[in-house]
Symmetry: D2
Subunit: 419 residues, 4 copies
């Protein structure tokens, strides 16, 4: 067992921190002012992307990069601490081409894409010239149980015809968004395995029948890239746009989720660290009733509890990344559910404390806290609500308990021998 | 002891509920669409106000109404259940001229206003033809300890000169907003009683030097009436605009707060009830993994805990209102702190559960939940952060304990007689 | 609505408080020393009982007292504040003949007993010359669902034959314990209504086949009256000992529970108040790092939160008592579940805080806290675990929601008209 | 970074698990029956000790073992997973001579003992022929701030004279207990550094003036080895019994605490795992209302949350052990405070859930849960209450924040340029 980062990771952290400090943080106010005015800060982003690309701080999330593809491939365990650093300024992931949901799309295109699909869609994603979306969640169904999804993707000759409504399609408003990977029902029979009825296809945004209905704010917040509601009405795409095989939508979605969740969790940790730093600085600066806030024991408790909880979560996330590297995404499935729940809950908890220390200012857009809180709240649904992940963990525990059933009984201390 | 509402209150509740159902609820979508487009739905509001005025559902919050003033005067205990009903549709309080912060301003004008001030400012407030604001919180000071307030209100001949910056000045963007009651430092000496250095004056919005700098969103939410940042630069108002006496700002602020907090708390309860109803309806409708959400024991726990907590809080708020009616606002000071903390915490807790049951939709503006949550979060600061109120309660307990000091020792069971 | 105690109640509270201070509290250490040595402090108790009986502070819990029966009948609402006072010294309820489970037994004998049963069992209970038990919970079944109960009570000619094992039979070790009311299965068919298969009979402790197997400690604590495991092996009692009718065991148990739960809850409140007093006295006395504990903001928060929570619970319990008086025990069923959950949870929460302020001493028998905590923990099962009561409340809410189904939908704000 | 146990550790875990299963677990009921009858199960223990000694599973906790000392020295990181295994049966640590407080005493005798002290006291501790205690906490002072300690240890010629009262002196009732290391005030001046006034001396139990006043139960539980109150009245010990130097009591106490806390935490984890196993087995076995408890979503949540929290804590404890091995106990001081708080809180939380699943049985001595809960509660004071450790962590965070003061301000997004 070894709890220190490797030299390679330490070196990368140093480089990334330096980049953030030299280039990203100084651009932060400009980014927000442009975004608050409703424009995507594309010029600013493009300038920073070029710089990061030049330094090789590019596609760091993708272990499976080939030699002819741009970027620096890292294991999940190596990438995780870098995601933490990027998390401190949420929009910065795009600078390093490490932004969701494109990261997940690049992964599944790598794994399941045909050579033609890779040439057409993966290559420009890898070099950052386009962006992409994924359409799974639907407004009218309880998508936490994805067998409920109702959008249809039906074969019609050489085409698939997509009909349905998706929402929380992140990135659909991005000026570079070119396609969305849609999951839907390709087999409408109700008497077959519900996990084998869904399929994924690539739908270019310029296909007739695709319409971005609105950008859905998350607790009043409009992301500049949008979390959009998208309507698909008789959308025809070539059958060649099928991703993987028909009926394998769940398997692909599953493959997609592990690393992405680790990224989310590590960014969350970076955001919790930032919230803690803000809380500390504010608590040392403010006075009420003749004492600094940092001198009040309740606020000291919040600080200490935040430190304990952040450190615990980071270790658990890193361990999950290590497990994925060693045994594959599927083997780490339950651990990933655990960090998913832990991270979403921690973010709102730590940020809430920081807000309370800031007072009313913590509610305004003048600090990162309001965004971090609402984003943390959204994380409690994104990629599955807490309750579904807790259920996954519990069922796994119950399965293991069943296998060793009764062994705990040996620890009981009966008061007498029953006759 | 008697826990039932009086016949008078039951009759009023019936009338108000009927009005809400017949007139307010049907206008709710229109109100939101107009507000979401950035316009204050003044026409809609004026129409409803006229109707409510006509029915005598007017100024219900103001026990001290005189016969020549419009409306129906009720005790705090009588009004509280009506505030709960209004709370379900937050904008509806204005329909009955029961909206904050005007309610508090009408109270203090009643109590401390000169005849001229009453004629000029109170009368149009009472008949709903103008609106008003109160400016206490400041962006650059820890306003939870109001002795920190830095805005100055200095006498200069026949005028007061106001300099400073206020924020979270609710209602400043309302088309009818005419004046703001500003609290500031009128005695800049540091060696005098810090609770006798602040004064309140009436500042018309059209006074030169008053500038609404921006509307500050609360967790990304822009209220149509605004929670504004207001700059006062060399603002001169006639000395006749002094409210009460110089140096009595705190006493007036204190008088202002009790009933207003009861109103907030009861509206909170109405909002929690609504959130619970939404949670119930959604849980009965949605299915995951073959069961309705309402069949899951964790969601049943949330429902039951919400019911318990709401009922407990309601009783406590009603008791505080009863105490204010019996013994005055000052006597109920600690009880009001208790309900203030309880309500702010409950609102985010119950609404959070409802959101989780709604899934992603709970984060959108398509349900009232996102607004109710962020408003609940703001309540944890409005009129003082939780920690200040908890401190008030604890200090009161400690004072009482000191008075009876040591009596609990009689309950100890020493193991032996110390020699 | 009226939140003050009536003059009658205030007078009774004054008398009871005076009695406690003059007679009970001074005997507290002696009671504990005798109990810690394993003897039931019967002499001490008898002396105090005689005094209370003489003052008419007797059977205060029993609204249905007849004129020829000893004691002062009070409504539930009148008795509740007195139970709070008794709760401060848990063993004191016996002094006033207000101790569980005899109170519940007296109620059901009043309601369902035959004249002969009343003469033989109720009369001596009412005058305090004997004590009694109730046997419901069983060690080998999940008794939270009482249809699981397995003890059999089968008719055999003029007798009932009882076979089974009960535990947590409170009072079985009391020197005056004379009988136990046993609930069991009188109809072993599995195809009939599971709520109509159980029956209650009166079993004198001296019946052959009744054996007290052991006194079961509750988290290591042995109550001097015992929470016993009792074995019934071929125990024959006359058919005349049937309580009510065959198959009506649940109905009787239900009737029994409402008032008893209110008593428990009010005693809990008295105990929470005592814990808070102890916490306050200790916090003012102790110093660490140069400050009194009472000066630390985290401890102030615990004090304030305890005050808020106790006050809320008291109001809710009193309201449930009021509802029982007005509409009967059955009508208050859901409210009683609410206070049952609330009280059990509050007791451990408040006492835990007090313990933490006491430091290690809080874990010893030198303060009442260790007992109050473990008793509070037991309350989370006694008369049904929290989860069962939460389920009851949730199901009631769902039933009401179903009745008004869909009304909350009118509060949604759809973003557009669906075509 | 590497999250797997080393081969060496895996081999040791296998051996220890096998020993536990073959020898310790089968003796568990006998141990408890003997202990419940008030006798220390010395014969049983001695038999198992001989076996463990023979297998080299001995003194595993002591990295600094010399070649001439019995046992297998391991690093803290190597020992930690073994402590987890021992924790499942709390009394088993003694079998491997890894029981507190002897472990800490052996450490400080190793570090600070004179050759004579080592020969007389350390050698028999290392071979398990005697046991020892440590006397720090006092009944009459807030010992969480140890500068409050009042016992005096005053030099008088060739002797030290000890006067005072200690309690929670664990092990004083053990039949083999031979000495206690007492900490007290050797410098009664009040104007000197309060951290340099305390001294430690070795006091044999047979010294005149030492009296075990009573065995103090922890929440009603009497440990067979006792947590005793010990009175020291004019107890004279040779000056050669001084441990380290006069006035260095705190430094020694500090050195003593790091590893011991890691041991406690890992045993806690073992106990939480056991509680979770019990909860799982029970939930799968019991039925209420037609479903197994394991099918209820609230109980599934408890299971999942327990799994998440246990795994997080284990990683954090292992990391602290790793840090102690790398950088020394002092460097890991804050991390050790973090795990101390985390473990004490987790134990009561997880065990409480398991108790609730067990129903009333969880309160009895028939399962390990009641003991594990009360012990967990005691852990919230042993080696310092939570609040002191949280304060340590917060002060460390504040110190670091001060060093980087203001850097978080760069993340604020001011709405405009202040003029």
């Amino acid at each position: 067992m070894e709890f220190g980062y490797s030299d390679k990771v330490e070196a990368l952290r140093t480089r990334l921190n330096a980049f953030m400090e030299a280039h990203v943080l100084p651009a932060n106010i400009a980014w927000h002012r442009e975004a608050q005015e409703g424009r995507y800060p594309l010029g600013l982003i493009d300038r920073l992307k070029a710089k990061a690309y030049g330094e090789g701080l590019w596609n760091l999330f993708l272990p499976m990069l080939r030699e002819d593809e741009p970027g620096t491939p890292l294991t999940n365990l190596e990438y995780a601490p870098l995601a933490e650093i990027m998390g401190r300024i949420p929009w910065s992931a795009e600078v390093f081409n490490c932004n969701a949901p494109d990261t997940g799309n690049m992964e599944i295109l790598h794994m399941f894409g045909t050579p033609a699909q890779k040439a057409q869609w993966l290559a420009p994603l890898l070099d950052g010239s386009i962006r992409s979306c994924v359409g799974i969640t639907e407004p009218d169904t309880a998508s936490s149980d994805p067998t409920n999804l109702q959008t249809t993707i039906l074969r019609d000759g050489d085409h698939y015809v997509v009909n349905g409504r998706k929402w929380f399609t992140t990135g659909a408003k991005h000026p570079n968004a070119r396609f969305v990977i849609v999951m839907g029902l390709s087999d409408t029979r109700t008497d077959v395995d519900p996990h084998a009825r869904h399929t994924m296809v690539i739908v270019p945004f310029d296909t007739p029948g695709v319409r971005i209905v609105r950008d859905v704010p998350i607790m009043h917040h409009h992301a500049p890239e949008g979390h959009c509601e998208v309507l698909f009405r008789d959308v025809r795409v070539p059958a060649l746009n099928l991703l993987g095989e028909e009926g394998r939508g769940f398997a692909i979605a599953q493959a997609r989720l592990g690393p992405g969740r680790v990224h989310h969790c590590m960014r969350t940790i970076g955001q919790c660290e930032l919230a803690l730093e803000l809380m500390l600085d504010r608590a040392m600066e403010r006075q009420t009733f003749g004492r600094h806030l940092s001198d009040y024991a309740n606020i000291q408790d919040w600080i200490a509890e935040s430190r304990i909880e952040i450190d615990q979560l980071r270790l658990q996330v890193l361990r999950a990344a290590w497990l994925m590297d060693r045994q594959g995404n599927q083997a780490a499935r339950v651990e990933v559910s655990a960090i998913k729940v832990g991270a979403a809950r921690l973010q709102t908890r730590v940020v809430d404390r920081a807000m309370q220390v800031f007072g009313a200012m913590g509610l305004t857009p003048d600090t990162p806290l309001a965004f971090l809180w609402t984003w943390g709240r959204a994380l409690r649904f994104i990629d599955g609500p807490d309750e579904v992940h807790l259920r996954t963990i519990a069922r796994d525990e119950l399965k293991k308990a069943k296998a060793r059933r009764g062994t705990s009984l040996a620890y009981l201390v009966p008061p007498y021998e029953h006759p």
